[in-house]
Each structure stands twice: as structure tokens, then as C-alpha cells.
């Protein structure tokens, strides 16, 4: 694929082909048209939409509710997305294309919310706050994918690793009575599975997708087995509790942002810490350069004296650590209980976030937030009594994933040796 995009000559502006530029521009304008037809026309002129800007149950960092005239807001959003579309059609935005596409998409979402909540009130801050929490496992899953695939190992076992870590985290957290021990054991279980993936795909060279599938099936069976055999029988084994909120002094008092970002539990901070660590390690250190070279051209890396096999093992094991943290979030960071199949495809969505974010941690975080938002949208709308049934609304994250994969938002650079086992010659 990498070869075909370089050999086929296309007129490109800032790496974006003309066809894509035009089609994205048209879509952005269509978003505006759609908002007009579906939402703006059906709202009476004098209705108001009330957005509550403080998440429920928060005492610090309060912000006044935001009451807007529904129709005017919709017209502003229409104008904005049409303007973006025209700009895109006329000259294109080069590298900022995805970002502006995202803004147009946000216009659409915001218009939808304004329309849906016209004459009612909607807790926007609460929705954002839950989006952040929902984004945590997806983003961390994407980080796992980045670590593995930058070194050339496809990892679709993230789902299985997360599920296992969630179960072990809950079990060991309950047994030891300590959340931290639960976290540690959860991470260790994911690392063990990562080691299995590494051995199968690096040493035995079996297809990395099959190897990942084996781990996913194994985890599904194992977690269900342990859960039914012990955790459902002895309820006290499935009651680890959750990590408490840790408000950061000062920052948590900022209106809107404070309650959402700085009064969350440990996992949210950990996500940001990992973002910085992985971003710096991958792109600003020698270690990261070596790892990426193994993912791009293992033979060249080998010639230069980099141990390809060792680098790949390390990458997959580190990925296991991150996946383990993500997995324990489900039990120790969120509900405080393990349920069968509770990861519900978040690992796979994490992979989509990785692809969407163009294999970079920052991009993955952005994609993670988008998916998290789509997720919380589904649950919020069912409370609002939306015309769209909640079971259909909840397909949104999966549909977005497919749209992302279809390259609708542009295909990034896939590590060239991704998914290929390395065979040392001689």
C-alpha cells in the first residue's frame, strides 16, 4: 500500500489528493444542509436549549448554566460548517484537513444536541466528563497498539488482554483488599498474555492476527470460567472497590475544565502521563528511533546492529503493560465489579483510534475522545427520550470506527513492516 501511494502520481496539496479534498469539502457543506433540513426547520423560533455546565454532584469548579436560543444556535452552526466546506473546496487545508473535518463533525454533534434538547435541559458537562472516562480504555488501547505496531507487530489481542486484566484486577483487588495490588496483578496478567502473543508471533512466526485471535478467545473463556466458578459464587471476591477521585488542588476549581479533567480518578491522569511519556520516548529518543526503524525496515535495522527480535519482544511486553492498565480501568477505575465480556470491543475500537490517530499518541488521544464522546452520546440520548432508539444509537462508535477504517478521514502511514514476521538470514 505504501508503494502504491508513492508510485501513483496524483495532484496533491499538502499530501491530500484533489479527489479527497473535494469530497471532504462537499461533505462538510452537506453537514450544514443536513442540519438545516433535519434540525433547524423543525425547531420553533422561540425555544431555548439549556446546557448544564457542571457535572452532577460536583461542588467545586461550578459554572453557570448556558441557555441558548435553539434556532439561532443551529443557524450559526450551519454557517460554520458551510464556511469550512467552502474553504476546503476552494483551497484546501493541507495538514489541518482532519482537524477542520473534526470541527465540522463537532458542529453536527452540537447541532444534534441543541435540537434534541430544545425546550429541555442537557448536562453537557456531565456528558463531557463521562466521555473522558469512556475515552480512557480506548486511548490506552490505542497506546498499546502504537507501541506494538510501531515495532512491526500487529496486536489485535488488546481486547483479550484488557478483559483478562479487568478480571484479574477485580479478583486480586478483592483478595488482597488493595486496589494497587489489584492493578499490579491485572497488569501482570496482561503482560503474560502479551508474552504469549510475542512468542507465538515472533518466535513461532504464526500469523499475528491468528495469534491475537487465540488470545482473545482464550481470555473470553478464561475470564468467564473464573467468573462463573468463583466470582459469582463468592460475591466478596468480586468487590474490589474503585480508585477514588483525586482532585488536583487549584486546577480542579477551574470552571468546566476543572471538574472534567482535574477532578477525576487516577486513570485519567495516568492517561495523560502515558501520552507524554510515549510521545517523547517514540519521537525524541534514540530508543524510539530504533523501535520505529524495526517497524519500518527490520532488515536495515538489523544490519545496523539493532536486535530486531529483542526490540519487538520489548515493544509487545510494554504494550501489555499499557493494555493491563486499560483493563483494570474497567473494574478498578469504573464500576468496581467484573462482568463477563465487559470490555465490549473497546480494545478493537482502540485499534481504530490508533489508525485514526495516525499511529501517534496525540492523535490516538484525540480519536479516543471522539469515540468516548460518541459512546456517552448514546447513553445520554436514551435518557433524553430521543427519537432514535438507544440500541441503534449505541452502534455509533462502531460505525465511526468503520468510517475511519474506510480511509474516509485519510490514511496515515502504516509502519511498513507491520504484521510481518522477521526472518533473519544466514
Amino acid at each position: 500500500m505504501a508503494a502504491s501511494s508513492t508510485t501513483i502520481q496524483r495532484i496533491k496539496i499538502g499530501g491530500i489528493s484533489t479527489a479527497r479534498r473535494v469530497s471532504i469539502g462537499v461533505i462538510e457543506i452537506l453537514i450544514g444542509v443536513f442540519i438545516y433540513i433535519a434540525f433547524a426547520r423543525t425547531v420553533a423560533a422561540d425555544t431555548l436549549t439549556k446546557f448544564v455546565m457542571t457535572p452532577g454532584g460536583m461542588n467545586v469548579g461550578k459554572m453557570a448554566d448556558w441557555i441558548v436560543p435553539s434556532q439561532l444556535t443551529l443557524y450559526i452552526l450551519i454557517g460554520l460548517s458551510v464556511l469550512i466546506g467552502i474553504g476546503q473546496l476552494v483551497k484546501g487545508y493541507g495538514k489541518a484537513t482532519n482537524g477542520l473535518m473534526g470541527i465540522a463533525f463537532l458542529c453536527f454533534i452540537f447541532a444534534f444536541l441543541t435540537w434534541q434538547a430544545s425546550g429541555k435541559s442537557l448536562n453537557l458537562a456531565g456528558m463531557l466528563s463521562s466521555s473522558v472516562l469512556l475515552a480512557v480504555p480506548i486511548t490506552l488501547g490505542a497506546f498499546t497498539g502504537i507501541l506494538c505496531e510501531r515495532a512491526g507487530v500487529v496486536n489485535i489481542a488488546i481486547e483479550g488482554m484488557m478483559l483478562m486484566a479487568a478480571m484479574i484486577g477485580a479478583l486480586m483487588g478483592s483478595v488482597t483488599g488493595s486496589l494497587w495490588w489489584g492493578l499490579l496483578f491485572g497488569v501482570m496478567s496482561a503482560v503474560l498474555l502479551a508474552a504469549l502473543h510475542a512468542v507465538l508471533s515472533i518466535k513461532y512466526k504464526i500469523d499475528q492476527i491468528i495469534s491475537g485471535t487465540v488470545i482473545n478467545i482464550f481470555s473470553t473463556g478464561m475470564t468467564a470460567f473464573i467468573s462463573q466458578k468463583f466470582m459469582q459464587v463468592y460475591q466478596q471476591l468480586n468487590n474490589p472497590g474503585t480508585f477514588p477521585r483525586l482532585p488536583i488542588p487549584g486546577l480542579s476549581e477551574i470552571p468546566l475544565l476543572g471538574p472534567i479533567l482535574f477532578n477525576a480518578n487516577m486513570y485519567v491522569y495516568l492517561m495523560f502521563a502515558l501520552l507524554i511519556i510515549i510521545q517523547v520516548a517514540l519521537f525524541a529518543t534514540r530508543w524510539g528511533l530504533r523501535m520505529r526503524s524495526v517497524g519500518e525496515h527490520p532488515k536495515a535495522a538489523d544490519t545496523l546492529g539493532i536486535d530486531v527480535i529483542k526490540t519487538r519482544y520489548m515493544a509487545v511486553l510494554l504494550g501489555g503493560v499499557v493494555a493491563g492498565i486499560a483493563g483494570t480501568f474497567f473494574t478498578l477505575g469504573s464500576v468496581g465489579r467484573f462482568d463477563e465480556g465487559m470490555t465490549a470491543g473497546k480494545g478493537f475500537i482502540g485499534l481504530a483510534a490508533m489508525i485514526f490517530g495516525n499511529y501517534s499518541p496525540i492523535g490516538a488521544l484525540g480519536a479516543g475522545f471522539l469515540f468516548g464522546f460518541a459512546d456517552s452520546l448514546g447513553s445520554k440520548l436514551s435518557l433524553l427520550g430521543s427519537v432514535i432508539p438507544s440500541s441503534l444509537m449505541s452502534t455509533a462508535p462502531y460505525l465511526i470506527t468503520m468510517i475511519v477504517l474506510a480511509g474516509f478521514v485519510g490514511k496515515g502511514h502504516v509502519p511498513a513492516a507491520d504484521g510481518k514476521a522477521y526472518e533473519k538470514e544466514g
Binding site: 507465538l200 468503520m402 504484521g419
Partner: protein
């Protein structure tokens, strides 16, 4: 007549050769044992690991160990024995019950004694369809992990045709509903194929996403448009008409039905399509070497889309079969993980229809027996899932099996590792 006979023999020979990965002219005959060596040892090793799981999660075994090592060991073997005996008796049958029933000469008693085995065949039927779906995908170089979703869509379509049409004779209604199921699965399955061809989106993630979407659509349909009136919001569809049901041969509780033979017929059809038609040749060539296929003038796009559609159709048949023969109504808990199981089946059966049929029989036996095992010794049925994961692992990496059993590596190893594309669909 004589010619006909010879042809039959040839087909048998070809079947064996294809199953062994051999080429009629160039390859030496390989013994039967060599063919089944790795699968058989993989199953055995999987069962041994399952036994270790059973013993190591049993509290009574630990209690016995505290009284003494040999006592603990004895208890462990006793529990493994009880569990696996329950599995055997529940899936094949209890030989002493057979003898007793045969001696009594009562046809009802005989049927009941052999019911565990018939029930295993019933359990194997959806596995045959689902395994064929995945195997066909593998042959085309496609990893159809979306069998689960296609199965749901097939079941929905079959259910809809089954309950919404009235007054049709059974010989029209039943096949119509069954084919509707195949069509539902084919449409759902072809979407990832079309996406792969047009956008290069990897079919694995798309299939997984479509599984979740199918599941949610099912939830919505069963609580909304397709719900059974008067159930108060229970997620159930109306019952299918009597004329749409796949007939069962005996009276309840024996559920053995025509669907099993339909599955065998479909397996034969898939074999014929894959190995006796140009289309099948194209499909296999694309699966083995896309570039060569392209140079030979084969249409990769057409093969990919048709391959996914055919694979989806088979998955849809699995769903339709379950609805029309067994459940007669659509519910959310239709599938017990057929999607993942189908991968194991295809790998175990070497992506060959005959191999898949045998693998499906094995899985039918395992699943049926595990249900009984759960009743007798309270071991969760998910033990079978764990064993399946191990079996796939051992078959995909025969080197592990060889190093466990100290086997030599065959010189002419025809590794049937499935070749799949990386993200982005590029080759």
C-alpha cells in the same frame, strides 16, 4: 455403471489428496497418521490442559492435598475422571444404557439411549455451517471473523420470512426461509468485502465492528419492529410458521433434524465449488498468491467480494438452521460464540470442507458434553472455549506440538498457515 464407479473412486482419492495438501502427480502418498498427527495431538493437548484447569480450580482437590500428596493427586484424577466421563456420556452416550435399551427391544428406549449422540449431531450442525463459512474465507485469504454478526443477520432474515408469510406449503416456505437466512448473511458479509476492495479497510476490524452492530440491530428489532405481541417488551420474535420449520425426525425430546443432512449437502457443495469450478480455483489462487492471481488476469475485487458474500451466506445458514430447526423464534442469546468457534473449526479442519465436518462433529460432541459436565460437576461450560483457544494455538504453531511430543519436522511440510493481509489491505 462401471465408469460411474470409477469416477466415484476418483473423487474419493482427490478428496484425500486435497485434504492432505497433496498434488495428484507430484506428491508422495502420505499416511493417514501424518495427516491427522498435528490436529489429533493438538486436541489431546488441549484436553490435557483442560484437565489441569479442572483440577487446579477445584477446592476439594486442594482440600485433599492438604491431607496428603497422594490423596490430593487421587482426588484430582477422580474429579477429572468424573468430569470427562460426564462429558463422554453426555455427548456420545453411556454404553451400558445402550446395551440395556437394545436388550429391552423398546424403540422409544433405544432412541432415548442414543439421544446423547443424536444431540451432538444437532449441536454440530450450526458448527458445520459456521466452520465452512470461515474455511471458505481462509481459502480466499480473507479472515471472516464476522461469522457471528452474519449469523445473527441470517437468523433475523429467516425468522422474518418464517413468521410473516402465511399459507405456503412447507416445501416452499422452509427452503425460502432458509435461503432468506443465507441471503441475509451474504449481504452482511459482503459489506466488509466491498469495503476492503473499495477502500482497503481491513476486513478483520470491520467484521468485528459489524458483529457489534448486528447485535445491537437485533436488540432493537426484537424490542421494536419484530417483537412478539403480548410479551411485554421481552426481546423475542414471533414464532415461525409450522410450514417454515425444518422437520425433526423423532418426537421430543429428540431434536435430531433434517438440518444436519442439509449441512452435509452444503459441505459437499462448498467442496465442489472450491475444488471443481473455475470460480473456486480463482478463489484459492487469490488466497494463496494475490500477485500471481492478478498476473493471471483474475479479478481480485470480484473474488474478494464474492468470497466474503459466500462466506457470509454460509454463516447466515447457520443462523437460519438454528431458528428453523431448533428455536423457532429469534432471541438475543441465539449464538453461544459461533463466530470465534468457526475460526477454530476452519483451522482444525485445514480449511477443507471434509475436515471442517469432522471438526464440527468434534465440537458438537465437546459442547454437548460440556453442558452435561456442567450439570454433573459444576464446571462452567467455558472450559470448552479455553480448550478451543489452545487447540487453535497448537494447530497454528505445530512447532509447539512437535517440541512437546519430540516429533521430527517433516521434510515436505505443507504449512497451512493462513496468509492474511496487514492493515490497509495492501499486499
Amino acid at each position: 455403471m462401471k465408469k460411474n464407479n470409477k469416477e466415484k473412486q476418483d473423487i474419493g482419492k482427490v478428496l484425500i489428496q486435497e485434504l492432505t495438501g497433496g498434488d495428484p502427480q507430484n506428491r508422495k502418498k502420505r499416511s493417514f497418521w501424518k495427516v491427522i498427527e498435528i490436529p489429533a495431538l493438538a486436541i489431546l493437548t488441549g484436553l490435557i490442559f483442560g484437565a489441569i484447569m479442572i483440577a487446579s480450580t477445584s477446592l476439594t482437590v486442594y482440600a485433599a492435598f492438604s491431607e496428603g500428596f497422594f490423596k490430593g493427586l487421587g482426588q484430582a484424577f477422580k474429579e477429572i475422571g468424573t468430569a470427562y466421563w460426564a462429558l463422554f456420556a453426555g455427548s456420545i452416550g453411556d454404553p451400558s444404557a445402550w446395551v440395556a435399551a437394545l436388550k429391552s427391544g423398546d424403540p422409544v428406549a433405544i432412541r432415548t439411549a442414543f439421544n446423547p449422540f443424536l444431540e451432538s449431531l444437532v449441536r454440530a450442525t450450526p458448527y458445520i455451517f459456521a466452520g465452512l463459512a470461515c474455511a471458505l474465507g481462509f481459502r480466499a485469504g480473507l479472515f471472516n471473523i464476522g461469522v457471528e454478526g452474519q449469523l445473527f443477520m441470517g437468523a433475523l432474515a429467516a425468522t422474518f420470512v418464517g413468521y410473516s408469510l402465511h399459507g405456503l406449503p412447507a416445501y416452499i416456505h422452509m427452503p425460502l426461509a432458509f435461503l432468506a437466512g443465507a441471503l441475509g448473511g451474504a449481504i452482511w458479509g459482503s459489506i466488509p468485502g466491498i469495503l476492503k476492495v473499495t477502500t482497503g479497510g481491513n476486513e478483520v476490524i470491520n467484521c468485528i465492528m459489524m458483529n457489534y452492530i448486528a447485535y445491537r440491530i437485533t436488540t432493537w428489532l426484537l424490542t421494536g419492529p419484530m417483537t412478539r405481541p403480548g410479551t411485554g417488551g421481552m426481546p423475542l420474535s414471533p414464532l415461525v410458521e409450522k410450514s417454515a420449520e425444518i422437520p425433526q425426525f423423532f418426537q421430543s425430546p429428540i431434536r435430531f433434524h433434517l438440518g444436519f443432512f442439509m449441512a452435509l449437502a452444503v459441505a459437499f457443495l462448498v467442496w465442489w465449488l472450491l475444488f471443481k469450478t473455475t470460480w473456486g480455483f480463482d478463489l484459492r489462487t487469490v488466497g494463496i498468491n494475490t500477485r500471481a492471481a492478478k498476473y493471471a488476469g483474475m479479478s481480485i475485487a470480484k473474488t474478494t467480494i464474492l468470497g466474503m458474500a459466500a462466506s457470509g451466506a454460509l454463516a447466515g445458514m447457520a443462523g437460519a438452521n438454528e431458528i428453523l430447526a431448533i428455536n423457532h423464534t429469534m432471541a438475543i442469546g441465539l449464538s453461544s460464540g459461533y463466530g470465534f468457534d468457526s475460526i477454530a473449526l476452519a483451522l482444525l479442519g485445514n480449511s477443507h470442507p471434509l475436515g471442517v465436518v469432522f471438526a464440527a462433529l468434534l465440537f458438537g460432541v465437546l459442547k454437548n458434553g460440556a453442558t452435561k459436565m456442567m450439570v454433573v460437576s459444576a464446571i462452567p461450560i467455558d472450559i470448552v472455549t479455553i480448550i478451543q483457544a489452545l487447540i487453535i494455538m497448537f494447530i497454528a504453531a505445530p512447532a509447539i506440538i512437535r517440541s512437546i511430543y519430540r516429533l521430527r519436522k517433516p521434510k515436505d511440510e505443507t504449512v497451512t498457515t493462513v496468509k492474511l493481509s496487514s492493515w490497509g489491505g495492501g499486499k
